[in-house]
Amino acid sequence: METIDTVTLSVINNALINICREMGTAMMRTSYSPIFNEGLDFSCVIFNRRGDMIGQAEFCPTMLGSAQYAVNWTIEELGLESFEPGDVVVHNDPYRGQCHMPEHMVLKPVFFEGQIWGFVANIAHVGEIGGMAPGSFAADATEVYQEGLRLPPVKVISRGEYVKDVWKIILSNHRTPKTSWGDLHAMIGSLSIAETRLLGMLERYGGLFLTAASDRLLDYSERWMREEIREIPNGEYHASDCMEDDGVTDQPVWIRLKLVVRDDEVIADWTQSDPQARGPVNATFVVTAAASYSGLLHLTSNDIPRNSGCYRPIRVVTKPGSVVNVRHPGPSVGGNTETHPHIQNVVVAALSQAIPERAAAAEGASGCNFLFAGVHPDTGEYYTNYHIDGSGWGATGFHDGNSAMCPENGNCRNTPVEVLENKFPWRTLEYRLRSDSGGPGRFRGGLGSSRILRVLAPEITVSALMDRTKTHAWGLFGGGKGGRGGIFVKKKGDTQFRTFSEAFGTVSDSKFTRVLLNEGDEVMIHSPGGGGYGPPAERSPEAIERDLRQGWISPDGARELYGYDP
């Protein structure tokens, strides 16, 4: 085999990363929906012809960890021989390797010298795909068929030509087809850019050399991850967490992990987790796998090349029909946004027993998913939107938790108030960090946020899917728990906010669909805070004073949580 020096290998690795970044920039600049052009809820990846991921960038960990399953499934189901130059396949089936129904993957083969060299793909959360709730986030769904239009791997473009019949089926089932049209084309456009750049690399290096180099990168990444795992003491580590309810019943659903570190591999055994829930907090197998990978990646070197190689030493064991591996036809839309960060937090909690100096306390672990739809009074057009709010992250042994950031599974951005108000009939009355919501500790948990929105249209239909409104993000090693989140409503003329259960009789305070609000009604979203790390008594007076000046803790909080008299 031709020798490949490490400099060339590094150049190739960075070139693959940069192709993915350029795909992301194109996606951001050309997509229609705020969840893409502001939230960046998508991931761009490159695969070899065997289905190994060889390139990715700083996108959504849940998509990145699961992408190889979706791509592998597509290749295996369709067969390599079925792909032709100019084809684009779309796929969103959670029972064929996808995270949840809104996540659509578009996949394009890259041909070089007459044969498939690899694939480029973009996975993105399409904001409206039909189903029982506008915004396709049905928090009280009991089966996958209520969650929207489910697509097996099918060609939407064949040899460069639209497959119009498939487009008709897709867009006839989406409530906002014009937006879906634009977003899907932004995704497909990013594939064309990646194809052009990858062909440039193939022209420069040759197909055989680039294959050998990417294989070397996969093996290098695997070796590095194995070395990192060797530094973790062998043993069995246990941890658990629960989803506070499933949107259909008010009972908690438990996630339980036995994590086995065995020399240079990790086995994440989830088989003691609860049976799958009736409501949509179930994770698909690939979500659980992605969360397991992500937990390990958080606690190992940032410099390990992110590709399929670094996942090889991490084995995932689940039981079909459980909350961590939903069995058909169970619902799973919340498993990707809410259950994933809980699963990942459990991995970190288990490993905190082995490598406490690297671990973090629990995060708010909720995307605070808020969906709304209606007819815009200014345009007369029907709209839907998928909105997320950040929560507090857990503190570590060396810094405070990040405040009001998308959970670690999403790595998305918030939508600016100006964009939200410009596109949709809401007035934002408040958007701030919540004092005292970060768990106290030597290092403080990140703060949750508070957002109050007033309805400006005659009516808006709202849905929500949140968690950690009854439970808390835990602290570590004496650190305190983070503040709970919540979503509340104040009807026009009322003086106080109430839960949606109190106001509308929903089963769950935090998971409901299709509640009709009228002009002047207000919604208040509190995102949860992160847990603290270490005893609060060990927090430095300088840090407490800074928190007081910033309003991140209140004078009462300083006294009660830290024993500090301001």
Partner: protein, 45 residues
């Protein structure tokens, strides 16, 4: 839908080992089944 008897994944080609018939994603899953799952179940029993 055919599920792997070790990891639980739905298999899109599968590896079968045979009154007992076990189905795996690939030989790697069979290996982990034999050297992790079976001993761990024996210990718990």
């Amino acid at each position: 839908m055919i599920y792997c008897d070790l990891c639980g994944r739905i298999i899109p080609n599968f590896w079968v080992v045979e009154a007992e018939r076990l189905v795996f994603c690939d030989p790697d899953c069979e290996k982990l089944y034999n050297d992790y799952w079976v001993p761990s179940q024996d210990r718990e029993a």
